[in-house]
């Protein structure tokens, strides 16, 4: 126990002022509220050792190592943590370990239909979804950064003749309802009463991961702890006595390596045994908080027999969500008064605030258990980082980090363009051949026109870009699996902060390069609602893969040099417009105080070929499914609108100009003409509102009648290159093509993205987004076209 003399000798300093490489001990976290609670839960408790790893390239935030985890905090946030470099003996933390207590709970009723429900919970990025995919055969998205899963996913497996529903919940550091995902997990468990909790912990980072375990233990639900990434623990040289640890925690613990399936069967068997025991036994193991708090828990628990021990403890902590649960009881006022008296008594006794006391006690319990069961590698010095962080010397280097980030992005687009061009040509030739063959095989008539011009012209025009889509998703998969996503957020946080966004917003932005819908869903990891709103409303400016076919078509047709850079410039303009929008929003109608940047930097992991292939395959399949459904149907409709009404004796060009589509196009031409677009381009962006690939398929259908491209084998690229206006001028040139790309980049998000915005932000913001994005697109294309034409 730290003596009074020790306490007097400590002159606390602020973590913010500590130099890189320094290891200090936490004395206390100042301030109050949710941010303080989050820091405590992430391990910034009294006595914990913190090492300053490095400043981000733009000086803010700072990377710290605590309990083996790498956490980034802004300077202003680190200034809230008092530390000391004196090697103080805070051994009262270990002294706080009082073992476990057994509580009598009602026995679990076996479900009549023999179906069991098991939920997966654990810290972010601990491997829950990897296990879920392995157990159920699902192919849910995984990645090496926190917050990949933002919703519950359900799957099934059967074992020993019993059917089990497995539910994958979002990762969470605790159940204190600080952020939306914590609220979601807590509410899900409370409302669904699972038969067991399968708690996944990162075996290489037990101290921090087991904090959540202490909360789950108090919920009186049968629990099994799966020690995931067991292979990494073994490689690190640390030794864990699983049997002793299980005894100390009062829960079954099973080693697991989820990504390759080692230990999965054992984990499931242990879960079933635990459920079967819970059906017979009525005892449950809880953290022992010492005589004073245990007495309080017993007394208050007797006054609220319906509530579990976790909730009773939260009532003593004055957690508002927990307090609300007693409001419906007859003795609500008495319960609240008793809880207040207890809280004051505990705070007086421990001479600290209740949140710190409970967090310290929980960490004390974990540390005490680990002191008995875990033998750290004796060769590893204090403050030395664990394996998996060595790449940071280069990738988050002060001078190289930003150039590397830009080069990686350029490489992604250049590879997408150049590598994809070869298979694209093969597919293009195949489609050209198919069009010719069907054209010759079928007699002249409306059916032949539908198949050749409508279906092959429309769907074929988009299908040729499948290789590029696969390559783009391959690169996104590498970024997600390696752990670089969190580094990118770390590197750009200062810039994002300047524009009124959170560093974590960078992750939805990167996901948005693939598809806007999961990107909008990924904003759920942002704690502050206004941060979320600004990110949701700016994510559609990140160019999704559905727009890629249009860029690839136009860049290849009208730019002969530096095609990769032209493509990248489109993406960068999207980022720039998002940044300007964010600045405007965060300084006007979405003004808010700055939010904290507490983010974990996971160790780098080798991306697996299996995962990258699954990711590519699933995206490729979705792309082909889109071709066979919505793109096909839209192409048929666009063709029909461009084919009817029929007029005898007209040239193909006159025919299409007088068609329904032509009339519609002519009606909107005055609006798009100042941007350099003809009516066909106007109609293409209109139909592209349903799904962005339809822009290209519409052009594929509308440009079939071009005079200089009567050969059915001519590719859409060639048709666009030769398309002429009635006065003989070319329709497209590089300026028109770029203006068109800018419009496609910025205008109206697709229907699916709008539905996601409605779901996450509400109808009002969805309507705002429709007008805002389209207005911005028109304005920027207009300025670009008119200015470029002057030179």
């Amino acid at each position: 126990m730290m003596t009074d003399k020790d306490k007097k000798d400590i002159t606390p300093r602020l973590l913010d002022n500590e130099p890189v490489g320094m290891t200090v001990q936490v004395v206390r976290v100042m301030g109050d509220g949710a941010f303080r609670q989050r820091l405590l839960e992430m391990g910034f408790v009294r006595g914990a050792r913190v090492t300053v790893i490095k400043n981000a390239p733009l000086k803010d935030p700072v990377e710290y190592m605590i309990m083996g985890s790498h956490i980034s905090l802004r300077h202003s946030e680190a200034a809230q943590v008092e530390v000391t470099d004196k090697d103080a003996d805070f051994c009262d933390m270990e002294d706080a370990y009082n073992g476990i207590v057994e509580t009598e709970v009602a026995g679990m009723d076996p479900m009549s239909d023999n179906v069991l429900r098991v939920v997966l919970i654990g810290n972010p990025n601990c491997g829950k979804t990897s296990l879920f995919n392995n157990v159920t055969g699902a192919k849910e998205k995984v990645g090496n950064y926190g917050g990949v899963t933002v919703d519950s996913k359900e799957g099934w497996f059967s074992i020993g003749g019993r059917k089990v529903q497995l539910v994958d919940l979002p990762g969470t550091y605790s159940l204190t309802e600080y952020s939306p995902e914590e609220m979601y997990v807590r509410t899900y468990i409370r409302d669904n009463h699972p038969d067991a909790i399968l708690n996944i912990v990162d075996a290489g980072n037990l101290e921090r991961n087991l904090y959540l375990t202490t909360q789950v233990m108090d919920m009186n639900i049968p629990m099994v702890v799966a020690l995931n990434m067991w292979d990494e623990l073994e490689k690190s040289g640390d030794k864990l006595d699983i049997e002793m640890m299980s005894r100390l925690l009062g829960a079954r613990m099973v080693p697991l390596t989820a990504y390759n399936g080692h230990g999965v069967k054992e984990v499931l068997e242990a879960t079933m045994e635990t459920i079967e025991e819970s059906e017979k036994e009525t005892k449950h193991h809880n953290v022992n908080y010492g005589p004073l708090i245990e007495d309080c828990l017993k007394e208050l628990g007797a006054m609220c027999p319906e509530l579990d021990r976790y909730t009773v403890l939260k009532i003593i902590e004055n957690d508002q969500h927990a307090v609300e649960l007693v409001n419906s009881q007859d003795n609500a006022e008495l319960v609240k008064k008793t809880a207040t008296d207890m809280r004051q008594r505990i705070e007086r006794d421990f001479n600290d605030d209740i949140v710190s006391i409970i967090t310290d006690l929980k960490y004390g319990f974990v540390r005490g258990a680990l002191a008995e069961a875990l033998t750290p590698n004796p060769d590893r010095a204090t403050g030395e980082t664990k394996p998996g962080y060595s790449f940071d010397r280069l990738l988050t280097n002060r001078w190289l980090a930003l150039p590397i980030l830009l080069v990686l992005m350029w490489l992604m687009f250049e590879a997408t363009f150049t590598l994809g061009a070869y298979p694209q040509e093969w597919i293009e030739n195949g489609i050209g051949w198919l069009g010719q063959w069907i054209g010759k095989a079928l007699p002249d008539g409306i059916l032949r026109d539908l198949i050749v011009d409508g279906i092959i012209g429309g769907v074929g025009g988009v299908l040729v870009f499948l290789p590029q889509i696969l390559i783009l998703f391959f690169f996104i998969s590498l970024l997600e699996d390696s752990g670089y996503m969190a580094r990118a957020a770390f590197i750009v946080d200062r810039i994002m902060h300047r524009v009124g966004l959170h560093g974590k917003s960078f992750i939805p932005y990167l996901i948005g390069f693939g598809c806007g819908v999961p990107a909008i869903m990924a904003t759920r990891t942002l704690e502050n609602r206004r941060d979320r709103l600004v990110t949701i409303l700016t994510v559609p400016f990140m160019s999704c893969s559905a727009r890629l076919p249009a860029y690839l078509l136009l860049v290849a047709a009208f730019f002969t040099a530096k095609q990769g850079l032209i493509l990248m410039s489109i993406y960068l303009i999207g980022i720039l417009v998002a940044a300007i929008t964010a600045i405007i929003m965060s300084k006007t109608f979405l003004k808010h105080d700055k939010t904290q940047f507490v983010m974990e930097l996971p160790p780098y992991r080798k991306p697996t070929a299996r995962n990258a292939t699954i990711h590519m395959w699933s995206k490729g399949k979705q792309y082909l499914q889109k071709m066979a459904t919505i793109i096909l149907a839209a192409s048929i409709i666009v063709w029909a609108l461009g084919y009817f009404p029929r007029h005898e004796g007209q040239t193909p060009q006159e025919q299409i100009e007088n068609s329904y589509m032509g009339q519609m196009g002519k009606a909107i031409e005055p609006v798009v003409a100042p941007l350099g677009f003809n009516w066909q381009m106007g109609v293409s962006v209109l139909t592209g509102a349903a799904a962005k690939e339809i822009v290209v398929s519409t052009m594929g259908v509308l440009y079939t009648g071009e005079a200089d491209a009567t050969e059915e084998s001519a590719s859409l690229k060639e048709k666009l290159q030769t398309a002429t206006k009635p006065n003989g001028e070319h329709v497209f040139d590089p300026i028109v093509a770029y203006s068109f790309m800018l419009f496609i980049l910025l205008y109206f998000p697709c229907i699916a993205a709008l539905a996601a915005i409605k779901r996450e932000a509400g109808t009002k913001w969805m309507i705002f987004e429709i007008f805002y994005t389209t207005g911005v697109a028109w304005l920027i294309s207009f300025i670009f076209y008119q200015v470029a034409r002057m030179f």
Binding site: V135, T136, G137, A138, K139, E140, K141, D151, K153, E154, G155, W156, F157, S158, I159, K265, L268, P443, G445, I446, L447, L450, C515, V517, P518, M521, S618, K619, Q622, Y623, Q625, K626, T629, I630, L632, A633, A634, I636, I637, A640, A690, I751, A752, L754, A755, A756, K758, R759
Partner: protein
Amino acid sequence: MTTSTIIQTIVVLGIVAVALVYVLRRVIKTSRGHGDCGCGCGKDCQCKNKPGKKY
């Protein structure tokens, strides 16, 4: 107008009608947040993806 032309016109108009109904249904469903948007994250996507394994 020959019989072949009439049959072809009927077939094509049928295809166009089916396509139109499909697109409208799809757009309405997606705008309500229940469509299979193809991104792998919507609720319907999840419903389709409920595999099971035996141990």
